[in-house]
């Protein structure tokens, strides 16, 4: 079966109907938030860069921030026919790519992105089924609409299925 492959860029989000695969390549400190409604098989994927739109001086791009991106993604999925109470989440990314001895703000951003994403999901009552976050390596992720599986690929740390 031919499935539509939709690429999600940095600070970007996409949702789509079955059959499709959403992918984002080379996640580092950014977090990939993959949402799935198993009944309608509608999928959504956000590539989040920063934890909060509230601290930002320029927050016009809603896909950039964990708080606004997740809300937007859920809205987009509902428009396609998903139901909010059926949506579940999987998370990947939020790595610390460089290990600085001084723990500057730059270095904790991956962790903060993960925390902020989880907070927003909890607030929206969206359960997190699984996650592959942290570490010091990049990830390419793919979410498939047929069963909502999330494939996580890395350079030196193997491939995982969430």
């Amino acid at each position: 079966m031919d499935i539509e492959i939709v690429k999600v860029g940095m600070a970007d989000l996409k949702s789509a109907q079955h059959p499709c695969m959403l992918t984002t390549l080379g996640l580092g400190s950014c977090v990939g938030v993959a949402l799935y409604d198993s009944t309608t098989k509608i999928v959504g994927l956000a590539h989040v860069m920063l934890p909060s739109s509230e601290q930002a001086k320029n927050n016009s791009n809603r896909a950039k921030f964990a708080d606004t991106a997740i809300v937007q993604l859920v809205e987009d999925m509902i428009k396609l026919g998903a139901r909010k109470d059926r949506i579940t989440a999987k998370l990947a990314g939020g790595a610390q790519m460089f290990t600085f001895s001084q723990g500057s703000d730059l270095m904790r951003i991956g962790y903060r992105n993960v925390v902020a994403s989880k907070e927003k999901l909890r607030e929206l009552n969206i359960p997190i089924i699984s996650e592959d976050t942290g570490g010091n390596y990049g990830r390419t992720i793919e979410i498939y609409s047929d069963d909502g599986r999330l494939i996580v690929k890395t350079i030196g740390s193997g491939t995982k299925q969430l």
Partner: protein, 205 residues
């Protein structure tokens, strides 16, 4: 006042381009001294681009690259990154260590050589910037990571993301003999440092 690359005028842009030229030129001169060979450099290309285009730098998100990152303190605060693809990194290490390996894995000695290359290139870039602006710019010891380009570039992209929706990078192509090496410099000033930088350069009041 917050300045982002999204709203720079053309004069400010030209000045940033010129900084890039001088910085990268200085860096390549240092490299030539380090390896005691003549190194040619093409005029660096300075680009300001949206996040969606960022990962196309160096041939795609999943291309394996070497990223060297250091933080900057002093009058100007922020970060600086030098990034080059794995193949180019191998060429540079070979030139520096006088070896002819084709492996894309690096041993400890080679990693330390790469860090030193990054240290010298970014250090001389920043020296040129400090000289131009009369600002005190103190670089930290560099950190190195080898991974997918998208993942490495997420680090500077996030910093740029705090102020706007685009990044500034300088692509430098240099060669020693027939060996061509491409590398990118990313200067990532903290939010408040854009103003400091542009003021020091006399582009804003």
């Amino acid at each position: 006042m917050t300045i982002s690359f999204d709203e720079l005028n053309s004069i400010q842009m030209d000045v940033l381009r010129e900084i890039g030229n001088i910085g990268a030129g200085n860096a390549v001169t240092s490299l030539a001294k380090m390896i005691d060979k003549k190194v040619d450099m093409a005029v660096p290309e300075v680009k300001i681009m949206g996040f969606d285009k960022v990962s196309q730098i160096l041939g795609g998100e999943e291309m394996i690259v070497v990223g060297i990152l250091l933080s900057v303190t002093g009058d100007l605060t922020g970060n600086m990154m030098f990034i080059l693809d794995n193949y180019a990194a191998r060429q540079l290490v070979n030139i520096l260590l006088g070896s002819n390996s084709t492996s894309l894995q690096f041993d400890e000695m080679e990693l330390s050589a790469l860090k030193e290359i990054g240290n010298i290139l970014t250090g001389s870039y920043l020296n040129a910037l400090a000289g131009l602006t009369n600002l005190k710019i103190l670089p930290s010891i560099p950190e190195l990571a080898i991974d997918m380009a998208g993942a490495i570039l997420s680090v500077p992209a996030i910093e740029f993301g705090k102020v706007g929706d685009s990044v500034l990078y300088i692509e430098t192509e240099f060669s020693e003999g027939i060996t061509k090496v491409f590398g990118d410099f990313l200067l990532i000033p903290d939010v408040d440092s854009y103003e400091v930088l542009l003021k020091a350069l006399g582009v804003i009041e």
